[in-house]
């Protein structure tokens, strides 16, 4: 059974703007799911509906098998949310705000559990610090600690890397992996697609309030990605010879770089044959390298097609 099941979800705001159109999505237990989309695509609206902050117009959402409207207590108790904005009570301490979150979600006091979370997030030495004195990265960690305080099964991270330095970001992704190891399902939105590429098991792309594609990350990259072979020529060319017109070739860098794009799904890439033909034509090259299109390129392509 999926841990999150969304069926025919629609959201139209009072202004008349339809933020979500018939969303169908299933997220499996224990996976890291990255939701990608440009600004205004509906990512935050979707997360906010699942978490109970925004009211859906129609459709059904089940979290851990519980309807988020009719069984909101059971559903919400399974969910932790780290919002995009660093919204904290400036005058509270780290310790009090995390304990408050735990109590708010109906859990009895458990100082040992809160201490463990703070230590995991390297916040223990800041437990008595007022939140206004913390850096942006530390505040982000506090938000994560608050979201984890009631031991959720599902954790939403809305743009968790925003405003976080490289080192902290790496730590955070390490923590995300650890949480997954402990059985927590992670759903994240990010603009750092490169990171989604590194960390996510599956990727969903949302654009204009519609789910464009949901696929296992590696399958998506294989299905929609292209590979390129770049040959640095000894002598520049002005045009591609006619007998090579069957290949998807183009010239760049004033004719000194020949680029061959090929489909990763094809059984034969045609590279060996191309190199033989180039040799026969007397076209020499001094270097070659191949590359695969990134998730970002795939993402941009998918969004543009919408």
């Amino acid at each position: 059974m999926p841990i999150i099941s969304i069926k025919q979800l629609n959201k139209t705001y009072a202004s008349g703007h339809q933020a979500l159109h018939n969303i169908d999505l299933e997220i499996q237990s224990g996976e890291i799911f990255a939701l990608l989309g440009p600004n205004g695509a509906g990512k935050t609206t979707l997360i906010s509906i699942i978490c109970g902050i925004v009211t859906p117009t129609s459709g059904e959402v089940l979290a851990s098998g519980h309807n988020i409207v009719s069984e909101y207590r059971a559903a919400r108790s399974k969910i932790g949310l780290v919002p995009q904005e660093l919204t904290t009570d400036a005058f509270e301490t780290t310790w009090s705000t995390v304990n408050f979150s735990r109590g708010l979600f109906g859990k009895p006091k458990n100082h040992a559990s809160v201490e463990k979370i703070l230590k995991q997030l390297s916040l223990w030495d800041k437990k008595d610090a007022k939140l206004r004195t913390l850096s942006g990265g530390m505040k982000r960690r506090v938000m994560i600690a608050k979201a984890l305080s009631h031991e959720p099964e599902i954790l939403f991270l809305d743009e968790p890397s925003a405003g976080v330095d490289v080192e902290l970001r790496r730590d955070m992704w390490e923590m995300v992996r650890d949480l997954r190891e402990n059985g927590v399902t992670i759903i994240l939105t990010t603009h750092y697609i490169e990171e989604a590429e590194q960390i996510a098991d599956r990727v969903g792309v949302i654009s204009g309030g519609k789910i464009v594609v949901v696929e296992e990350k590696t399958a998506l990259m294989q299905k929609l990605g292209k590979k390129e072979l770049r040959l640095q020529l000894q002598t520049g060319m002005t045009e591609i010879p006619d007998n090579l017109s069957d290949y998807d070739l183009k010239l760049e860098a004033d004719g000194t770089e020949l680029i061959y794009s090929f489909d990763t799904k094809q059984e034969h890439t045609g590279i060996a044959e191309l190199l033989r033909k180039l040799d026969k034509q007397g076209i020499d090259f001094k270097d070659l390298r191949s590359s695969q299109s990134s998730l970002e390129e795939i993402f941009v392509k998918l969004v543009r097609e919408q």
Partner: protein, 253 residues
């Protein structure tokens, strides 16, 4: 009901009051002391008794009621407006708790704080003047009903307000004048007949009158009318809050 959740909100709000003790407790106590010194001791010593009660003692229920009203509104409105303003309201809305539990936490804390302030003022008043409480049960009932009702009203204000300035306008520009003109410092039968009639449209008259009756057994309007008016206002606030929660007005999109 999730007792832990309600307790978390309640304790959080009381902790905020403790942190800002100067603003929430000391300030109303100091200003009330000033009223006692000026109106009770200085001017009051030159005035006769009202209904057989010395003027200094006569104004005590009104002063307590005035603080109770303004404190209840300020505490409750700030309590819910601040998370709306900072954005931390997301956590309340995403928690596995009902609207009733949210209300219980915020309004309960606001009412508790204002009742504490009211009781401190009563204790402080004892330093300046002797007074009696003839009907302690009704005194506590009025205190509790008024604090709850006006905390609910403050909660509504905190939902509706667009800025901190709007939070201040109601207690300062509406409640305080109504309290001054609602018999805090005088009995309404001291007014000319026309103004006595006008004053009856002031809801605070009924609160002060009923509260004063619980102290000295004297009232401008009957105790039943006072209880009826406060109950009516309580029910009105409950209906408005219920509509806010039913529609998610200013809370949920």
């Amino acid at each position: 009901m999730s007792i832990n959740s309600v307790a978390a909100i309640y304790k959080f709000e009381l902790a905020r009051a403790w942190r800002t003790i100067g603003q929430t407790i000391a300030a109303p106590v100091v200003s009330t002391c000033l009223y006692f010194i000026v109106f009770g001791s200085a001017i009051g010593s030159r005035m006769g008794e009202i209904g057989g009660v010395s003027y200094a003692a006569f104004i005590i229920p009104g002063l307590v009621m005035m603080s109770l009203l303004t404190q209840s509104i300020s505490n409750a409105s700030f309590g819910i407006f601040f998370p709306r303003f900072t954005g931390t309201i997301f956590e309340i809305l995403s928690a596995p708790i009902s609207y009733f539990e949210i209300l219980l936490g915020y309004v309960g804390a606001a009412a508790s704080k204002s009742i504490i302030v009211g009781l401190i003022i009563l204790v402080t008043a004892r330093i300046f003047v002797d007074y009696e409480i003839q009907h302690p049960f009704w005194m506590i009932t009025f205190l509790f009903l008024t604090a709850t009702t006006f905390s609910l009203f403050g909660f509504i204000l905190g939902i509706v307000a667009n800025g901190f300035d709007q939070l201040q306008i109601v207690p300062l520009m509406i409640i305080t004048p109504l309290a001054f003109l609602g018999g805090t410092f005088y009995s309404i039968d001291m007014l000319p007949p026309f103004w006595q009639t006008v004053t009856l449209f002031n809801p605070v008259v009924y609160l002060v009158s009923g509260f004063r009756w619980s102290f000295y057994g004297i009232a401008d309007v009957s105790i039943v009318t006072s209880l009826g008016m406060i109950s009516l206002f309580l029910v009105s606030c409950v209906v408005v809050v219920w509509r806010i929660f039913a529609t998610g007005y200013r809370l949920k999109d």
